[in-house]
Symmetry: C2
Subunit: 427 residues, 2 copies
């Protein structure tokens, strides 16, 4: 009986697994470099937990089920709720500030499309209990530090940065009531993805005053923080929000990544839960979905029943990233090795095969990687096998061992061979 993989999931054969490891290992290295420590949670949680942050609509996007105890559970579509639950549970025992990262496997019951799969991996970094925007800047820095380490430059990727706090202040300033903000954000979030006409139409459905609509369109096109005061007369609260964002850029300059960064009022992020700086990193060409996104969400822990403790963070999926790296030639099928091997043991004489088995085990015990051919074969075929495994050296067991107890050690790169006494080898 032939069975297929489920649509929207991926099989990681060794070449695809090598790519996944290349990405995930890079995420881990960047996290550690930037002083984050790793955590993880279960692959499934109570369904209810995902409704707190994202409302009932999220249920549609979840793989959910009931266990034999009648519990309503769901495979995790994101790890932030788990983070909030875990931090809340131990809030009094954990040393703060908390700088945690994770590289969870996540699942969403979406229609698969380019850069969007039903099962994917996502890098998450979060800094909890640092009120200063230095933490916001550090989250942007860490994301860029990773992308830069892959060879991407400011010609390839751009961090578009804005502030929910500033946006809210300015919108209230031009007459939008506080209660209307949450329904306005998803519309503003659509702006970069749709034509201006369609955007204006959506706004007009939500807002009666054509002047306000025109003002919003203008605001969303502002290219620098400094241009805002010319458009809107700022009160103290708005000025404070603006100063905060200016400070984020100052920090990013000190960190040496400001070339990658740009103010963009159009970065809103769909979710209601952001409270301060928000950002997304995009390919400069703008052909792909966001590479990553995040921001400050100071109410998350308290929304999950915990104390009022501030937080800022970021999530980066593997799918869009892989597409971008391939497009830029920074990841090819040949650039990540499926296997490398220190030694390949080739035996060309049946009578010596036991010695090949012995030697292979001895090499492994010494901590080196080794394979042997499961039977004697022509040297040519075995060298080919060694090559396919990217072996550094091939040890040939044949006449020399019989005659003078010597191993032939062939350097697979240079082709040079040397004879080594079998008893002293790896001693």
């Amino acid at each position: 009986m032939k069975i297929q993989a489920v649509k929207g999931t991926r099989d990681f054969y060794p070449p695809q697994m090598a790519v996944r490891n290349f990405i995930v290992d890079g995420w881990k290295a960047a996290s550690i470099r930037n002083g984050f420590v790793e955590y993880d949670g279960p692959i499934f949680e109570y369904l209810q937990m995902y409704q707190i942050k994202s409302g009932d609509e999220i249920v549609e996007q979840l793989f959910n089920f009931e266990d034999r105890g009648g519990r309503h559970l769901a495979i995790r579509p994101e790890i932030t709720p788990t983070l909030a639950r875990m931090v809340n549970q131990q809030i009094n025992a954990l040393a703060r500030p908390i700088k945690w990262f994770s590289v969870p496997r996540l699942c969403r019951a979406e229609r698969p499309q380019k850069g969007r799969l039903r099962e994917f991996f996502q890098w998450n970094i979060d800094i909890i209990d640092v009120e200063d925007v230095l933490a916001d800047a550090e989250v942007v820095y860490c994301s860029l530090d990773y992308l830069r380490s892959l060879g991407l430059t400011s010609k390839d990727v751009v961090a578009k940065i804005s502030s929910r706090r500033l946006l809210a202040a300015v919108l209230k300033n031009i007459g939008i009531p506080e209660t209307q903000l949450d329904s306005l954000y998803p519309i503003l979030d659509k702006k970069p993805k749709i034509p201006v006409g369609a955007f204006v139409e959506l706004l007009e459905k939500e807002i009666d005053n054509p002047d306000t609509v025109r003002m919003i369109v203008k605001l969303m096109d502002v290219q620098s923080v400094d241009d805002i005061p010319a458009l809107v007369k700022l009160n103290d609260e708005e000025q404070a929000a603006l100063d905060e964002l200016t400070q984020v850029f100052a920090r990013l300059k000190q960190m040496g990544v400001v070339d990658f960064c740009r103010f963009d009022m159009g970065i809103v992020r769909g979710l209601a839960y952001y409270t301060g700086m928000v950002f997304e990193i995009h390919d400069v060409a703008g052909d792909l979905r966001a590479i990553c996104g995040g921001g400050r969400y100071d109410n998350l822990l308290s929304d999950f029943g915990g104390p009022k403790v501030t937080a800022t963070g970021m999530g980066m999926g593997d799918a869009v990233l892989e597409i971008l790296l391939r497009e830029k030639g920074l990841l090819t099928d040949d650039s990540v090795a499926v296997q490398t091997l220190d030694y390949f043991v080739a035996c060309v004489d049946d009578a010596l095969f036991n010695r090949a088995v012995e030697l292979t085990a001895k090499i492994r015990q010494k901590g080196y990687s080794a394979n042997l051919n499961y039977k004697t074969n022509t040297l040519k075929k075995q060298i080919k096998a060694a090559d396919s495994m990217n072996a550094s050296r091939c040890i040939i067991i044949g006449g020399e061992l019989k005659e003078s107890n010597q191993l032939v050690v062939k350097d697979m790169k240079t082709g040079q061979q040397e004879l080594i006494d079998a008893d002293t080898f790896l001693k």
Copy 2:
């Protein structure tokens, strides 16, 4: 609203995550040392796939659900069916023999108990298309190579080895019809876990002839392959099965791990699908469940609709292993570091804080790990923070930078301090 984790799952706070990484990284290193390459599959598959190998009873042990397309899916309880599916799908494109490993997250809807959780990690290694028992021996070797690398000796763990082929041959020899074998295996598998009396009772329910029952009890107690011919007069098929098992032990001797190995006719493995050598590694004291188990399963690929290609492999979970390592003192809360850091940047002067931000980013860009305090504080408190992160060095930014552009670099182990010019540091 307070929400808990689901019973039987684990939260991996940084200390627990460090332990998980210690185990999983060790599995990966042993796999690579032994010439395996990594693969992985999706976290969920068609429910039906798990019924092929394990029958309908498995459904009870699965977290299964229906997606919006009406597909019956299940979170994977093991990865072997995925392996069979993946290999079958590409059987003509894959270079053989195939030596693959994986460290999947798996879920079973079981009642949680000691060493058995509803969510766990499992190391899997498999060798496909090597008929020779050398591959069986290599699977046992690789498992022991890993355990030995942790510091476990033959006084701690024992590999109990038997053969399904030999067992089947001998059972047929003493009059058990072939059709009865599959219902007999689960009973024999229980033998080490229940008193002799209860074992005999179970056998008597299955077998009418008291002589046959007595013979089986005797056979299950045989301590050496060499003792079998004295109990049963062997025909050619039985002799061949016995020779094969003798050869497994000969290979394990060549590999230098025979001290860890013992013949045990009582190792049967519950599942019907094994066809040759079978083994389990146990703690010598016998207090715990098996640390790992596996064997040869030559029909698996064909059971999943593929060609008749041989296979042998092993699975090792993290739960029993962790209990054993803690019991033996080979894993303690202090033996795995939650975090290590190359540099901690401590600023003791507000006016210099921007320089601390700059420097931290510079260190990270150079590839070293670094953290800074998010605000100036007393030196004592910052040194304490550096200590809690296991920082190797602490850089103190204060008067020396102001006066002579110098950084104080403190070695956290020796306590020694040196002055380094800020411009040449890490140049």
